[in-house]
Amino acid sequence: MTPDLGKYAVEVLSAYAASVVLLVALIAVTLRRGRIARAALKEVEREVKSDG
Amino acid sequence: MKALLVRDIKLAFRAGGGFGLGLAFFLIVTVLVPFSVGPQQALLGSIAPGVLWLGALLACLLSLDRLLALDFEDGTLDLLVTSPLPLEGAVSVKALAHWITTGLPLVLAAPVLGVLLNLPPAGFGWLVASLALGTPALSVIGTFGAALTVGIKRGGLLLSLLVLPLYVPTLIFGAEAARRGALGLDPATPLLMLAGITFATVGLMPFASAAVLRMGLR
């Protein structure tokens, strides 16, 4: 299945690996921050409501 | 306006020699280069125009953070904003004072340091010309950066970060003109570009700086 990458296998694979790592990291950071923000907002909204 | 210019220059002289320090930094960076890249004369000569331009740029950069931050801290900037002086004029004058106390001495000192770095004889004139033409742009662009970072506690490094990419075109054309001059090639094109950048920035940047300053002080 895997195509024969010839003598450039290292380059091609590392390019893909690096890009995927960067993209995944970006998405992970984005989602994590988003989740934290959502949680914080929910918390504050609850507090505000309970205040009256 | 004149009062502001005179005061800024006076302060540069008094506050522990703001006048000499840019120059001294320029000197020291130039002197450190042979220590760091090694003492080969030919190599040094070939990188000399570039090193001198870079040194001048860094020396300019380092003195930027006192351009507005000091006035901000002691409240002068608030008072200036409420004064009858137009803010565009004030930032232009401050850029001019910066150039007189930093850029001008660098231009004058560059030939001496050229000798230290084994700059080819043909290059001296062009080096001075390109610096004289380019350093005003450095001061004006730097004032913009200083205005951007004025409210930020010790924004010194942030200021460098913001300003350095803006310096790229000036540096490229300036160093290229000096380099072509040193190699005996025709430096007319980069010099013209440099002049264009300088005039455009001197004419337009003060408006951006004043706008940014107004926003930042609010």
Partner: protein, 244 residues
């Protein structure tokens, strides 16, 4: 009804909540299929060998790196003129995405350069402009981080984006003047519709470009939502917190 209604954070959030699932699925589909198609389904180039496969990452990333800055420029302008908070928060949200795209373009380019030009890095105009773009992203993000008041930060970063754009273009010409380069010209000239890569490479490449574009959109929408929530949290907290 105008499109400006979506400048209202609440409207924006509800719309983006509707659009996002579609967007994420489409983006994921295009990126994954495009990359698999490119990686497994295309032949090697006769000159570049298998390294041509890097194009499916390199070109879309480079494209989005520039487009992200464009988008930031436009949304910053909207903020400066019409003062819509969502607009400038979108710019803030896009910056890190644009920066990562720039880094991907730089890294894949560097890895590509090693076999092709025998060096990781050359001071070629296109590469150099990208490096400068990276610096602008860095400065823009750092400025956002450094200013406490969110509106002041929005103002100042917007002006920086504007001025930076002018200087980025200027640098681009300066760099071109200073060094003619190694890098090939564009293969997807938008205006002419002509192209310089053959169809086998072209279709998966287009798929990847679309995928990266969608991914960018999805990320920016999501991140803008995050920024809005953070602002809302801060606003609520400030008002709840004692005004003593």
């Amino acid at each position: 009804m105008s499109i400006w209604q979506y400048a209202n954070p609440v409207k924006f959030l509800s719309l983006s909540a509707k659009v996002q699932p579609v967007l994420w699925v489409a983006a994921g589909f295009c990126v994954v299929v495009g990359l698999i198609w490119g990686f497994f389904g295309t032949p090697d180039d006769f000159r570049q060998g298998s390294t041509v496969k890097i194009i499916y990452l390199h070109v879309p990333a480079a494209l989005m790196a520039i487009n992200a800055w464009f988008m930031m420029l436009i949304t910053s302008l909207i903020w400066l003129v019409r003062r819509h908070h969502v607009s400038v928060l979108a710019a803030k949200a896009a910056a890190p995405v644009g920066m990562v795209m720039t880094v991907i373009a730089l890294v894949t380019g560097a890895i590509w350069g090693q076999p092709m030009w025998g060096t990781w890095w050359a001071w070629d105009p296109r590469l150099t402009s990208f490096l400068i773009l990276f610096l602008f992203y860095l400065g823009y993000i750092a400025l956002w981080e450094a200013i406490e008041d969110p509106d002041t930060a929005a103002d100042l970063t917007s002006v920086l984006c504007l001025v930076g754009s002018v200087f980025a273009v200027l640098s681009r010409y300066a760099v071109q003047f200073w060094n003619q380069g190694l890098h090939q010209g564009t293969s997807v000239p938008v205006a002419t519709g002509g192209r310089t890569v053959s169809d086998v490479f072209f279709y998966p490449l287009v798929m990847c470009m679309v995928g990266f574009g969608l991914l960018f959109l999805a990320l920016v929408l999501y991140r803008t939502g995050t920024e809005i929530r953070l602002r809302r949290t801060a606003a609520l907290r400030a008002r709840a917190g004692g005004n003593v």
